[in-house]
Amino acid sequence: MSSPAYNFAYLDEQTKRMVRRALLKAIAIPGYQVPFASREMPMPYGWGTGGVQVTAAIIGPADVLKVIDQGSDDTTNAVSIRKFFVKTAGVAATTATEDATIIQTRHRIPERALGEHQVLVYQVPIPEPLRFLEPRETETRRMHALAEYGLMHVKLYEDIAKFGHIATAYDYPVKVNDRYVMDPSPTPKFDNPKMDNCAAIQLFGAGTEKRIYAIPPYTKVVSLDFEDHPFVPYRFNAPCELCGSEDSYLDEIVTDDKGGRMFVCSDSDYCEGRQAAGHTGSLISAPYKERAARG
């Protein structure tokens, strides 16, 4: 049986035009949530359908795609979305950050600084930063329109009152271009400073909530905070045990049921790159070495 004939990158051309119009508007008004007619995709909601539609709308035959999930190129979500585009668009895929022209991401921004030739596409579950404090959509839209953002600080205030510091570790609200308060999707707040004045275009797609927003290149992105409780990016205080990196964002991996754990870079490409360049961590028996030793 012949395989079904897809249009290039799965979506039909009219749909792509609709998404592109939303994208252009989003770039013109940094941080503003543009409604769009999100389509049913051949994967469940919550698996990055918003990001996939954005990528499908901007991808061309010459593009090189990288997909990461929690910083890693080889988790289920990343693998299936990469395969999806390789199959429906026939584009080249890569895991190397510097080779990619489009990087679709869930939960992380690559450690390596992005360049002007690159586009970062975020998968967003809940685009509205005010949602958990103000459930009414009509009201939150009005608050955005009138730039009434006092409520956002209420959330941070609650954090300090409860925990003594701003305990929000991901989804940390930012103000874009001194105007719109924006939800940076569930990236760790460690990544927030990378959004500021970034050379790459940053596009955000929320499939379930049917919203697209964007940060154009070299745009000011400020994490909200209090004067006496300034924004602090959080990172485990340890080097990566595989590559020894002291400044990358780390995943904590539980290794046994006796409290054993290790910290490794969440950005797998960055970590492998460093190891290939000869950097080593403290871990003598990394899993793959163990396997090699056993022969």
Binding site: L146, E148, G150, V154, Y157, E158, I160, A161, K162, E227
Partner: protein, 265 residues
């Protein structure tokens, strides 16, 4: 300076001019006019369905009037028709220079966030950006409305009805408004709690020189708090005057009925 204060107090803060509103055939209020001066407390009394709450909503700009207009003297001294204000200006006015105390505190408070954040929200909305100062302001306001400062990090869900109402008042007064609207602030509270709330209110209102429009069906509340009284029936103001005068010597038949219907223990 004293002279200027005097002049300030001479000019009305809020002017209602010929307000009418009907919902289909039902007339909610008709030809209501009055002037409210700074520091003055005006009570609107009447039975349920007499149009009190609708009038309050029109005055506070939450509902448009069918006819007539409401003017307010802004902080810069210019008296402006509320219907000409943009939405941003109106909302700004609402959360800085005005307060609105709901009968049900759950409507006026954020029940899921702590008392401190509830009081601090208006401050953060006008650009306060220092946690320590916001918290200090919230603490001092909790003290003023007689809530134990140790409860500052508890949500209003854990508060009693009277405490919630006092918290709502603190939340409204933190930006030092000049005008506060109150819709049955003592409704649903038992008598001893009512007495305490009224006590707190009376002190704050005098101390802060607040102008208040208070809607109530409870003449005792009106007697205790207000300077002037507006008696409504069927959407019309049937009697108006100094509170003591109206209550001690009611002229209209309906007002006489209202006054005589109070049970004294």
């Amino acid at each position: 300076m004293a002279n200027q204060n005097l002049r300030e107090n001479d000019e009305p803060l809020l002017i209602a001019d010929d307000l009418s509103k009907s919902f289909g055939k039902i007339i909610a209020c008709q030809d209501v006019s009055f002037k409210l001066y700074p520091g003055e407390i005006l009570a609107i009394v009447g039975e349920s369905g007499s149009g009190k709450s609708t009038l309050l909503q029109i005055l506070s700009g939450q509902q448009s009037s069918g006819q007539g207009r409401v003017s307010y003297r802004m902080r810069d001294g210019v008296t402006r028709d509320l219907s000409t204000l943009g939405e941003a200006e109106r909302r700004f006015l609402f959360r800085t220079d005005w307060g609105y105390v709901h009968q049900d505190p759950a409507q006026g408070l954020r029940m899921a966030v702590s008392a401190g954040a509830n009081v601090g929200e208006r401050l953060m909305a006008v650009g306060w950006n220092h946690y320590g100062r916001i918290r200090a302001a919230a603490s001092s306001w909790l003290e003023r409305v007689e809530i134990d400062v140790a409860r500052i990090d508890d949500t209003p869900r854990t508060y009693s009805g009277g405490m919630r109402q006092r918290l709502q008042i603190a939340r409204n007064l933190v930006t030092q408004p000049r005008l506060v609207f109150m819709d049955e602030p003592t409704g649903g509270l038992d008598v001893s709690v009512q007495a305490r709330l009224l006590d707190v209110l009376r002190n704050l209102v005098r101390e802060l020189h607040l102008a208040v429009v208070i809607v109530t069906h409870d003449l005792a509340v009106a007697r205790l708090l207000s300077d002037r009284l507006l008696v409504m029936k069927g959407g019309q103001v049937i009697e108006t005057g100094l509170t003591d005068q109206v209550l001690d010597d009611p002229a209209e038949h309906y007002t006489q009925l209202l006054v005589s219907s109070i049970l004294s223990p």
